[in-house]
Symmetry: C2
Subunit: 237 residues, 2 copies
């Protein structure tokens, strides 16, 4: 993992950051201040970009690659919570957490490049420019709302409902042919079901003609069936 | 449910609000501005103070009583997410949600009195006084962190682990003798387990001498056993 000061890429950092709704149309000086201390981080596949519990001094902007946000269970299983891709921001909420530590591990899935931005710069920008603080408040409250819905859904849903909702989510982003972005083992942990139960569900659905494929490659053949299963997770707002 | 403009109680509203860490030691004029538009709301037992999906124009400060935050499942079951008591703030995060609606129902458990404070006043206070915005950001990010932990725990834990963690949480607040603040049926929904499973667990633990009691009154006789069960939910920070 290399960590180099950058100059020529500053423009790209500004452009990627400004493309995010929270940072769109902010004063130039404010954006420059945010990007001033940025460094470019290059990481090979599988490297941890930060660890759960480490002091959260930086947030990351993905320039290239994909990042898995994960925790390890006490028996060493990996629980992947989220994937971040090009142009997305990682750990900006942690910049405001009173305990000042990363709540998860961030791991580069393949090789990747990341802009590393400073916690102090973000906090200073919010203090100096209240409209940015208001956008961050809106962003955090929306994420809180989504997490509450997730808790609701997890306590209410069955394994098959959760798998259907997950596959449909992938389908919205990837279209016809699905490529699972995490392994079946990781997916089982993510959905809170046993790996055997996941295998059994996939093979039952395959036999019934609902889906088709193997390992990470799948085709959804009966969207209506999956939508009916997943529908309790759909909220009206 | 009555909704009256207040004057003599303004001082109590200011005092209760100022006792919350987010609002401690703020400029007097700011606090006065926040409380200026407050009205006092009196509600009898079982009344909804606001409904999920309603425009979120106010947040509430509990003067007296207890409020259940809940959603109804499609088959009419009640899922209680949280209880708010005297001096606590309700729905302040909803004041920043971009969809502008309440994400849950708030229902007065017994009769109660509540100060109803304005969304606009809170947002204006954050815009005019960045230190308040920063505290709200810290508060929301901490709640987001806790919700993420909740999702983690829900996907990783068993029914007995969840019940043990819940009882220990009550024990910390109530001491020796526990009084369940919600019905066993609501508790089962809250923990994402079937009512029959909850009954069975309680009666198994009773037979094994871990707990003692019935309905809503319980005594924890074997704290170590419950702590060992719940320990995967305890995080180091």
């Amino acid at each position: 993992m290399t960590n180099v000061k950058f100059a020529p890429d500053r423009g790209e950092c500004l452009r990627l950051l400004g493309a995010l709704p929270q940072f769109a149309d902010l004063p130039d000086a404010l954006m420059a201040g945010l990007c001033e201390s940025a460094t470019l981080l290059r990481a090979e596949a599988g490297r941890l970009l930060f660890r759960e519990g480490d002091p959260a001094e930086h947030f990351l902007l993905v320039r290239r690659g994909c990042v898995e946000m994960l925790r390890f269970t006490c028996d060493g299983e990996e629980r992947v919570f989220h994937l971040f891709r090009e142009g997305q921001l990682i750990a900006e909420a942690a910049m405001f957490m009173p305990h000042g530590r990363y709540p998860m591990n961030a791991r580069s899935q393949g090789s990747g490049e990341f802009f590393r931005l400073s916690r102090n710069a973000l906090r200073k920008a919010c203090e100096n420019h209240p409209p940015l603080a208001m956008r961050m408040l809106e962003n955090l409250s929306l994420r809180l709302y989504r997490q509450v819905n997730e808790v609701d859904w997890l306590t209410a849903s069955s394994a098959s409902q959760r798998l259907a909702a997950y596959l449909l989510g992938l389908h919205r982003r990837q279209g016809e042919r699905l490529n699972l972005p995490i392994s079946q083992r990781q997916l089982a942990t993510h959905l809170g079901i046993r790996p055997e139960s996941l295998s059994r569900l996939l093979s039952d659905w395959q036999q019934a003609g609902r889906i088709q494929g193997r390992l990470r490659q799948w085709l959804l053949c009966d969207l209506t069936y999956l939508q009916d299963l997943a529908s309790p997770a759909v909220r009206s707002f």
